[in-house]
């Protein structure tokens, strides 16, 4: 930018695309799942889930209930993040210009 200057780092300082994708899918869903777990189990006692006589085996103890709940929320939010990322990544890059061109054509006609 300001003339010749020896670069400190020759290689890329950024993650490869795949790394970025994994990170921006898993991390926000982890945050959301943590909050969802806290809110959910503040109101719901996993020991009371299910029929009194037949508790589902996954909820045999509260700790199991919390863990199953957390990973369920993480899974759901991961799927949502994944879909969002897929839609963002596959959006046609020059879509706005094409829309503009179409408008222009209409105006000319």
């Amino acid at each position: 930018m300001f003339g010749a200057h020896r670069p400190e780092y020759a290689g890329k300082l950024r993650w490869p695309r795949l790394g970025q994708d994994v990170a921006i899918v898993l991390w926000p869903s982890f945050l959301v799942a943590s909050v969802a777990t806290m809110v959910c189990f503040a109101f719901l006692d996993p020991a009371l889930v299910g029929n009194d006589d037949y508790p589902p085996p996954a909820f045999s103890t509260r700790m199991t209930g919390y863990a199953v709940g957390f990973f369920f929320f993480w899974l759901v939010s991961t799927l949502s993040s994944l879909l969002t990322l897929y839609l963002v990544r596959t959006a046609h890059p020059d879509a706005p210009e094409r829309d503009k061109a179409a408008d222009g054509n209409r105006g000319d006609g």
Binding site: A10, R14, W15, P16, Q20, A23, W27, L31, A42
Partner: protein, 460 residues
């Protein structure tokens, strides 16, 4: 500030070059080290504190109660946690408006643990140049030994971190004992490894990439910035045009600025950016470049502060304003919320009552011309000592309560369930009506609570 355009560059699998931040000493680095020691000290020490015969801070998830020194919180107190999170978020806004990314540089767990892992790396592998040489060198006995020693330190420290984390949720003394006997429960083992593993990967490998790609705060903090926010900045007017020079030469006559282009500010940067290119969202405000540049300025005999904490207004030579509408609003809201929180948590009701109808029968007509409904009354005693409670009912004329004994005991932090028979005269009610069931401690009349229930009677 660069926006989203930086996100999609790079090939799918193209390897990233590791950043080797150069170690630097200076006033801000000493402040950061002190902050790291204090914060890590608090994190690792708190689970070992005792209070009144039990762990002082224990988020006892299996028992669904949080112990915070003398305070016991229940799921019913959940809104205190929400309140606390709002206060925390507002504090972040306030300090960001005031002094930029103070949190990132000094207090964020990601920064603090990364810094700790960097210390261990330097301890084993030496300084920046030695680390880079070691990375380039072919595998040898010494390289293997150094890498293994670093991994040993990292993994041990991570496991200890995971153990401490779980110690906030499980009594840490018992946890230490069960680890010593290799008898840890499956979930405890899992969460120790999960948190330990996260620490290892985050602080050992991902480091500044977490700030670059995964941190939402890094992206929206610019919304809280204004022209009076303290940022770390390079004084372009003073520094440019940059260039190497001999000490004997009058650089001003040659048309050079104060920047000697030594690139030390880039070498010390943990995110690998060049602060001289202006404010960038990758900057975590660690102030390493300030210390580095001050040291160089001292050496060449120029005044310090070519890179410094300053505001946009300050750089333009205008007056600096700390008090401005934005900071005043944040500060007022923060003070109100914090005061309210303190008052509310010290004056909260320490008893609660839950009244559930018995599922088996709607009502019972008794030979003594009364109608009886059965309830399960749950008395919640959030106080630190046991109390004796009297149960009364109201809402229908002639209503009486019978629960076997005359009083009910509930221990400290206990939920005591008791079946309660409520009777009314046969002619007092047709159909249904709401009643109030109250509890009151016999030794402390201010400990009382009322629950609502539905009373059913024949409607003919």
């Amino acid at each position: 500030m660069t926006g989203l355009e930086g996100q999609v560059d790079g090939g799918l699998y193209e390897a990233r070059q590791k950043i080797y931040p150069r170690d630097i000493d200076g006033r801000f680095q000493r402040l950061r080290t002190a902050a790291a020691w204090v914060l890590l000290g608090i994190f690792y020490a708190i689970p070992w504190l005792r209070w009144g015969g039990r762990q002082a801070v224990l988020f006892d998830l299996p028992a669904r109660q949080f112990h915070l020194f003398g305070l016991t919180l229940w799921p019913q107190d959940f809104y205190y946690l929400t309140w606390l999170l709002v206060i925390a978020a507002l504090s972040l806004f306030f300090f960001t408006a005031l002094a930029g990314r103070l949190f990132c540089g000094y207090a964020c767990p990601q920064t603090v643990w990364t810094e700790t892992f960097l210390w261990m790396e330097r301890f084993v592998e030496g300084n920046r140049a030695q680390q880079m040489r070691l990375a380039r060198a072919p595998w040898s006995g010494e390289k293997l030994l150094r890498k293994a020693a670093k991994q040993f330190l990292w993994i041990t420290f991570s496991l200890w971190t995971g153990f401490t984390f779980v110690g906030y949720f499980t009594p840490i003394g018992e946890l230490a004992g069960s680890i010593a006997h290799l008898g840890t429960g499956p979930w405890e083992t899992f969460w120790v490894l999960f948190y330990g593993g996260a620490t290892y990967v985050n602080a050992g490998f991902m480091r500044e990439q977490v700030c670059k790609y995964m941190c939402p705060y890094a992206r929206f903090q610019s919304a809280m910035f204004d022209r009076d926010t303290l940022i770390i900045t390079y004084d372009e007017k003073r520094g440019e045009p940059r260039g190497a020079r001999k000490k004997s030469v009058d650089y001003k006559a040659k048309g050079l600025g104060d920047c000697v282009d030594c690139t030390v500010c880039v070498q010390v940067c943990p995110t690998g950016i060049d602060i001289r290119k202006g404010l960038q969202y990758e900057c975590i405000a660690c102030a390493a470049c300030i210390d580095a540049c001050d040291e160089v300025m001292d050496k060449v005999g120029y005044p310090r502060g070519l890179i410094r904490y300053d505001t946009q207004s300050g750089l333009e030579g205008k007056r600096k304003r700390v008090m401005r509408p934005r900071t005043l609003v944040y500060a007022t809201l923060l003070a109100l919320l914090a005061t309210g929180f303190g008052y509310s948590i010290t004056h909260r009701n320490l008893v609660g009552v839950d009244v559930l109808r018995d599922r088996n029968a709607l009502y019972r007509e008794r030979p003594d011309e009364t109608v009886e409904n059965v309830y399960n009354v749950k008395i919640l005693n959030k106080d630190a000592k046991a109390h004796e409670f009297v149960i009364t009912a109201s809402g229908i004329p002639g209503i009486v309560v019978s629960y076997g004994s005359s009083t009910v005991w509930a221990g400290p932090g206990q939920v005591q369930g008791v079946p309660v028979r409520v009777r009314i005269p046969e002619d007092a009610l047709e159909g249904g009506a709401d009643i109030q069931v109250s509890i009151q401690a016999t030794d402390a009349p201010e400990l009382r609570a009322t629950g609502k229930a539905r009373f059913l009677a024949p409607s003919d």
